[in-house]
C-alpha cells in the first residue's frame, strides 16, 4: 500500500479520460440522473480517500467503476425502506400505454425495468448492454467470479423479461410501481 497521500490533481488526471463514461454508468444504474450524479460525486470523494490503496495506477479504470458500484450499493441499502414508501414513484403507466409514446418515456420505462433488478444485476446489465464491457471486465469491476457475473446477467435478463411480460398484460392495468414490486 502506498504511503503517499493522493492529490486531487492526480485523481482528476486519472479520471479525465473516463470521466464521462463513469458518470454515465452512475446515472444508468441509479433511478434518475440526479441520483446518479450524487452517486458519482460520492464515488469521486471516496476515490480520493482510497486512491492511496491502488498500487497499480494502470488499473484505475476498473477500480473507479468498482468505487461507483460500491457507493451505489451502499446507497441502495440505506434507501431500502425509502424505496417502498417513496412518495415519488416512477412515472405511472397509463392504461393504454400512451404516455410512453416518446423517447423520454421509453427511457423512463427502461429505468423502471432496471429498478426491478438487484443492484449487482443492474450493474452487470448496464455494463454489458450499454457500455459494451466483457464478462471478464465486469467481473473485475464487480470483484466477482465469472460465473457470478454470468448468473447476474441471466437472472437480470429474466427479470427484465418478466417486467415487460407484465407490461404486456393490459387487462391487469398494472402501474409501473406495481410491476416494480413484482
Amino acid at each position: 500500500m502506498s504511503d503517499a497521500t493522493p492529490t486531487w490533481d492526480e485523481l482528476f488526471e486519472l479520471l479525465a479520460p473516463i470521466h464521462d463514461d463513469v458518470k454515465l454508468f452512475a446515472r444508468r444504474i441509479a433511478r434518475s440522473n440526479a441520483e446518479g450524479d450524487d452517486v458519482f460525486q460520492d464515488a469521486v470523494l471516496r476515490a480520493a480517500r482510497k486512491l492511496g490503496s491502488l498500487r497499480d495506477r494502470t488499473r484505475f479504470k476498473p477500480w473507479m467503476y468498482s468505487v461507483v458500484v460500491s457507493v451505489h450499493r451502499t446507497r441502495r441499502r440505506s434507501a431500502f425502506w425509502k424505496r417502498w414508501i417513496s412518495s415519488d414513484p416512477p412515472d405511472l403507466v397509463g392504461d393504454d400505454g400512451a404516455r410512453w409514446a416518446d423517447e423520454r418515456a421509453s427511457a423512463s420505462r427502461a429505468s423502471a425495468a432496471l429498478a426491478t433488478l438487484d443492484p449487482a444485476q443492474r450493474e452487470a446489465i448496464v455494463l454489458f448492454e450499454l457500455h459494451g464491457y466483457s464478462i471478464e471486465e465486469i467481473a473485475e469491476i464487480q470483484r466477482a467470479s465469472l460465473s457470478a457475473v454470468k448468473s447476474r446477467l441471466v437472472r437480470g435478463r429474466d427479470r427484465l423479461r418478466a417486467f415487460y411480460a407484465r407490461l404486456g398484460q393490459p387487462s391487469l392495468s398494472l402501474t409501473t410501481e406495481e410491476v416494480c414490486r413484482g
Binding site: 480517500r49 450499493r73 421509453s106 427511457a107 420505462r109 467470479s145 417486467f163
Partner: protein
Amino acid sequence: MADPWTDDLAALGEDTRAQLGSLAHTRARLRMEPPMKNVFKRRPLFAIAVTALVLAVAAPVAWAIGTKIFVTFDPDKSAPEIEQDITNQLQSAGVTATVHADKSDGRLSVQIRGSGEALDHANLEVVPAGSAGVVIEKEGSAGSKQVVSRQIRLEVETAQPLEDAALAKLQAVLGTKEVTDALEGDDLDHLEEVVTDALANAGFHAVTVEATPGALTVHVTAPPAP
C-alpha cells in the same frame, strides 16, 4: 429477435447524456479538501487476525436480542487455553456452547457453536482482551503488532434445521482465504460482496450479509441448493 428492452435501454443511454457536465464541472462541485488518510493505516511487521465465529442455529422464530454477553480472551494464549477461557465465561453467563479455537498461519479463529436457547437469545460479543475497539495496534520496540478483530455471526433461520453437512459447508465458506482476507480489510462493501459470492457459489442463495466495522452477520433462511 431483439429483446423487448433493447430500444428502451438505448433511449435510456441517450437520456442519461443530457447535461452530463464536464470534468471541470465535477471538480468545481467537489470540496477541494485533502483526502483523509486511512484511519486504520497499517504498518505491521506482523499481524494477527482474530476472527470469532459465532454460530447460532435456531428454530424458525424471530431473533431476539437478550442480555448482552461480553466474552474476552487473550490472543497470546494457546488455543486450548482460549477455548477453556471462553467456555468458562459462557457458562458463567448461563450459555452452553461448544468452543473451538484454532491458531495457524498467524491467524486465530474462535468458533462458538450453540443452538436453541443457547445462543439465539444471547447478544454475544467476543473481543480480544484489552481491546477497546475493532483494531488494536500494540507498539513495541521491535515494531508494530496489529490485531484485527471482526466477529462473524452466523444466524441460521430455516424451516427445517440445516443438516450437519450444510453447516460444515457454511463454516468452510467463511473460513476460506478469500473471506478471511476480506475480513481483515476495511472495505465493508467488498467484504459483503466476497461473502455473498462465496456463499452463492456454495449453493447458499437465501442469505443476507451485513458487514460493520466490528462484525459480519450472515443470516441464512434456506438450505443450500443441491
